[in-house]
């Protein structure tokens, strides 16, 4: 394979397979793979190698690993899997009666020496030789757990601390690389992402060809019409309201063409920067995908209870749902950036017209009769409704006031009778 026949190196094809290429290179390789049988065969072969490697499984981790680790974690001391020999054991035995004083003295001297050495040659620990002892120092630090008491900082621990700082730098660079990868995955996020919207109100004299012209403008600028409504009310001007989705790059030219339809009554344009929202969503999406992958790994490697497996599957389904929702939101946001939204409102220039002839006398009489009948019916219904509403309370007051009224009436009659 050479670059004259294949635009991509084989290693790049492999990097594409591993998801290590930038988005633009990956799309290029993907397009090439669709056309080049030789490179597609190479991909198949590498996939075959990966599949075959999955056959190399190992037995499950020993249960004792968890027990010993738990004990070591609680005791802050590493129980020995094997008895250790060598100088450390010899020194331990020889100087045990002196307690920690000997260790403190030697450790302090070594620490001072290392400090002077580090100050004298600041880049020493970054040399290859120093890097080669990283593992040893990490191991030495782990071995400190075996000691019953924490020893003073010696040369190994000093160097381990330096190397931890170096590892932190490595981690930082890794993070930067990861963020770069995320940015590469979403090339639009590298610059400011603006979701543009515009609103145009027009008044046209000739309303007839407006709809066809608007459609043609949208099509000419590789856009589309999201919605379109026309109204032709009687005794009023005709109107058209439409929502156009126009590629952001062609927004200005499309609006310029739309404005040629008639007189501009109102025009507004606005832009909303969504870079942060887009980046945040991309990060959340990446985390969710990583979570899903870990869940899948847990499920694949899990050999516990069926309930745990079902719980893991439910969690995977939940995370998958979140991922799909976030992907949909991301696509929607991307569409808002790629396509500007234009709210178009077109109104016909209104010309008032004469009213039609007034109705005839017969029609007016008939309408009056209908109105009178309707009023009668409504009055009767109103009386009935009032009676039904007021009757209970009238009955109640009648019962209450009947006896006093009757007594007063009889008294009035008695006083009136002698006089007469």
């Amino acid at each position: 394979m050479n670059s004259s026949t294949h635009p991509y190196e084989q290693e790049e094809v492999m990097a594409y397979l591993d998801g290590e290429l930038s988005a633009d290179r990956a799309s290029g390789v993907a397009a090439h793979l669709r056309e080049c049988a030789e490179c597609a065969e190479l991909v198949q072969q590498m996939r075959g190698v990966s599949v075959q490697l999955t056959n190399w499984s190992v037995e499950p981790a020993p249960a004792a690993l968890a027990n010993r680790l738990e004990a070591a974690r609680k005791d802050r001391a590493l129980p020995k899997v094997k008895p250790r020999g060598g100088i450390a054991a010899w020194l331990d035995g020889r100087f045990a009666p002196l307690g920690g004083r000997w260790a403190w003295g030697v450790g302090s001297a070594v620490a001072v020496a290392v400090l002077l050495l580090v100050i004298g040659s600041p880049n020493l620990l970054r040399t290859r030789k120093a890097r080669e002892v990283t593992g040893l120092n990490t191991l030495a630090e782990s071995k400190q757990l075996m000691a019953p008491a924490t020893p003073p900082p010696d040369r190994a621990s000093q160097m381990a601390a330096e190397l931890y700082r170096e590892r932190a730098q490595i981690s930082e660079s890794l993070e930067i690389q990861n963020s770069r990868s995320a940015a590469i995955m979403i090339p639009q996020a590298t610059g400011p992402m603006i979701a543009r919207t515009a609103s145009v109100s027009l008044i046209v004299k000739d309303f007839g060809p407006v709809e066809a012209t608007v459609k043609a403008i949208a099509q000419r600028h590789s856009g589309y019409i999201a919605s379109l409504n026309t109204a032709s009310p009687q005794d009023s001007a005709r109107t058209l309201s439409a929502t156009l989705q126009i590629p952001s790059a062609q927004l200005e030219s499309a609006i310029a063409e739309l404005k040629q339809l008639g007189r501009v009554d109102q025009e507004t344009q606005s832009g909303e920067e969504v870079t942060k929202e887009f980046t945040d969503r991309a990060a959340r999406l990446k985390n969710a995908r990583a979570t899903e992958q870990r869940l899948l790994d847990v499920l694949r490697e899990h050999t516990g209870k069926v309930k745990d497996i079902l719980d893991a599957e439910q969690e995977i389904a939940r995370v998958r749902g979140e991922i799909e929702q976030m992907e949909a939101d991301q696509r929607s946001l991307q569409t808002r950036v790629d396509f500007a939204t234009v709210q178009l409102s077109v109104q016909e220039e209104y010309k008032a017209s004469l009213q039609g002839a007034p109705p005839s006398t017969a029609t007016r009489l008939r309408n009056a009769a209908v109105e009178g009948y309707r009023s009668l019916i409504e009055s009767v219904i109103g009386i009935g409704v009032f009676a039904l509403q007021a009757l209970p309370i009238l009955l109640l007051w009648g019962i209450i006031l009947f006896l006093p009224a009757r007594w007063m009436w009889k008294r009035f009659r008695r006083t009136a009778a002698p006089q007469s």
């Binding site: 290693e11 492999m14 990097a15 591993d18 290590e20 198949q44 072969q45 590498m46 075959g48 190698v49 990966s50 599949v51 075959q52 490697l53 056959n55 190399w56 499984s57 190992v58 037995e59 499950p60 981790a61 004792a64 690993l65 968890a66 010993r68 680790l69 070591a72 974690r73 590493l78 899997v81 094997k82 290859r128 890097r131 080669e132 990283t134 593992g135 040893l136 990490t138 191991l139 630090e141 782990s142 071995k143 400190q144 757990l145 931890y164 590892r167 932190a168 490595i170 981690s171 930082e172 660079s173 890794l174 990861n178 990583a290 979570t291 870990r294 847990v298 490697e301 969690e315 995370v319």
Partner: protein, 180 residues
């Protein structure tokens, strides 16, 4: 589900359940890391234990700047390298591939043996890159940081390893599903 990075930060604050959770998540992976590279299962177990203890002790110094997985296997690789140097000083045999075959079914056992023998025949540097990629699933960048080699070197070694492994598996009479 809490992420690994959140868990190590919780561990940094002294959360013991966070460490337990990390251990449960990565026990098999770390064990597999050492088991595939060592003859002695007991030694692999010891180094896996040391790796987790180093994580436990180093949690105070952990900074959330990279994936926990890369951090964890970086420690594991350093511990492995130290053990290899120590073994090399004591004896000549510190072979990567274990002699024992895990207890699996017959066909899988044969396939696993075939694959292991094929990996064993790779160059040491290329083999390490291949294993970190295929089994530990680290990115090129993470592998480059762990091995202290340039990114392009990782890619070249990985490509050579895969092509060599393809040829070995294809040529091996007992290979299963080898493609050409």
């Amino acid at each position: 589900m809490t992420s690994d990075e959140q868990l190590i930060l919780e561990l940094k604050q002294g959360s013991e359940p966070a460490f337990t959770e990390l251990f449960l998540r990565y026990r098999e992976r770390v064990w597999g890391f050492f088991r595939r590279r060592m003859n002695d299962a007991a030694q692999a177990e010891e180094l896996a234990q040391e790796t987790f203890l180093a994580v436990f002790r180093g949690a105070q110094r952990y900074e959330p700047r990279a994936s926990f997985r890369a951090y964890l296997f970086g420690i594991a690789f350093n511990i492995l390298a130290a053990d290899r140097r120590k073994s090399a000083s004591h004896q000549t045999s510190a072979h990567v591939v274990p002699d024992e075959i895990p207890a699996t079914s017959g066909t899988n056992q044969e396939t696993a043996l075939c694959v292991r023998q094929a990996v064993e025949r790779l160059e040491g540097d290329e083999r390490e890159v291949l294993m970190l990629r295929e089994f530990e699933e680290l990115s090129y960048e993470e592998i480059a940081k762990i091995l202290y080699v340039p990114l392009n070197t990782v890619r070249s070694r990985l490509f050579r390893a895969r092509m060599a492994l393809r040829d070995i598996l294809t040529a091996a009479p007992g290979s299963l599903g080898g493609r050409k």
